[in-house]
Amino acid sequence: MSARLPPFQRFLDEQREVVWRVLVSSVGQSDAEDCFQETFIAALRAYPELRPGSNLRAWVLTIAQRKAIDVHRARARRALALADPSDVEASERASPRGDATAEASDRVPAHDETLWAAVGELPERQRSAVVLRFVADMRHREIAESIGCSEEAARSSLREGLNKLRKVVEV
């Protein structure tokens, strides 16, 4: 019954899809690839130190959430830079030509795009709770474990997140 860590390849095979879904939902199709690589590279580095018997899915989704948060923070910084009128040149360099192309290649239907964009706008903890609940099919206890809060806090983050989303999709 000794719980050993599975070979990393098997861990990757078993978790790749849920990680991919969570990342596409959190950051969109075009940023998901980089996040996916960063998530599993970080997981590979830390892997041998992981306690056997750990909840591997919760662990890797925690890493994925952190990578997704990095993307959102970087976007927020870019948005700030764009809003700065002294940096017109930068805003032109970063003008959303590339983004538009990327969006066109994303095969997510438009209404799902709206939904995920709204999820992306949620505060970090609410976004994590919503994504882990509906994309990773996690229970409240696992969500709490994954974002590092109490089960009650996870429940209320989820509730608040859903309330905000409801306003968006029911327009």
């Binding site: 050993r4 991919w20 690589q37 599993f40 580095r45 994309v135 999709v169």
Partner: protein, 228 residues
């Protein structure tokens, strides 16, 4: 009124599940696109892990006259060769336990190993130059397997002779055990060790494979008639 509220409550949850491919109220329906995209991303990841040398063990498979072989290597060299009928999960789990769980399937780091094996099976290679990693082999077994490695292509020795070479003249049974648990068959040619009378003796990959390897190397005449 409250019915309306309930319907609304469902709608956002249903929308989220549908949009994430978890339709039917949570019963997971695999979205083929997400699965395919994730598999592609995972393959690119394995390639990057291999290029950057981030895994402790890389493995890959190759086609051979014996079917699909699996080869695994560390940065030191080839550490394991598995025959098709070996349970790959079990093989990888033992590597994880004995060496490191950082094991990734990536063909590129094993290209030269696979190339040498393909040349060998085509009769174009008489000895292997690839480096070996003896981590899985204990000290006595290592002496026995190194003695077997010294037998040239086309030659054979008896278990007793190999035991003597390994410094254990009366340990032919122990030598047989060491040869039988060779983690790198074919490349470490335990198939070149026969019984004293010339009988084939056992082989972890089956005696028929032992015969075919010796025929390939010209140490045994090819069976001239088919049985029956």
């Amino acid at each position: 009124m409250s019915r309306q509220t309930t319907r609304k409550r469902e709608s956002i949850e249903v929308a989220l599940r549908r949009a994430s491919g978890n339709a039917n109220g949570g019963a997971r329906v695999t979205s083929a696109r997400a699965a395919g995209d994730a598999a592609d991303a995972a393959r690119r990841l394995s390639g990057r892990i291999a290029t950057e040398g981030l895994a402790d063990v890389n493995y890959a498979s190759l086609d051979s006259p014996f079917g699909k072989l699996t080869v695994a290597a560390t940065e030191r060299g080839l550490v394991r060769l598995a025959f098709p009928e070996e349970d790959l999960d079990a093989v990888l789990e033992r590597l994880a336990a004995r060496i490191s769980p950082r094991i990734v399937e990536a063909p590129a780091p094993l290209d030269s190993i696979r190339g040498e094996l393909e040349e060998y099976f085509a009769g174009r290679r008489r000895h292997f130059e690839l480096p070996l990693d003896w981590t899985l082999v204990g000290p006595f077994s290592q002496r026995v397997l190194r003695a077997a490695s010294a037998i040239p292509y086309g030659g054979v020795l008896s278990y007793t002779q190999v035991a003597a070479e390994a410094g254990s003249p009366r340990g032919s049974r122990a030598a047989g055990n060491a040869l039988g648990s060779n983690p790198i068959p074919i490349v470490v040619p335990c198939h070149r060790v026969l019984r004293s009378g010339g009988a084939l003796g056992g082989y972890a990959g089956g005696p028929e494979r032992k015969r075919r390897l010796l025929e390939l190397e010209g140490a045994l005449a090819p069976a001239s008639t088919l049985p029956g």
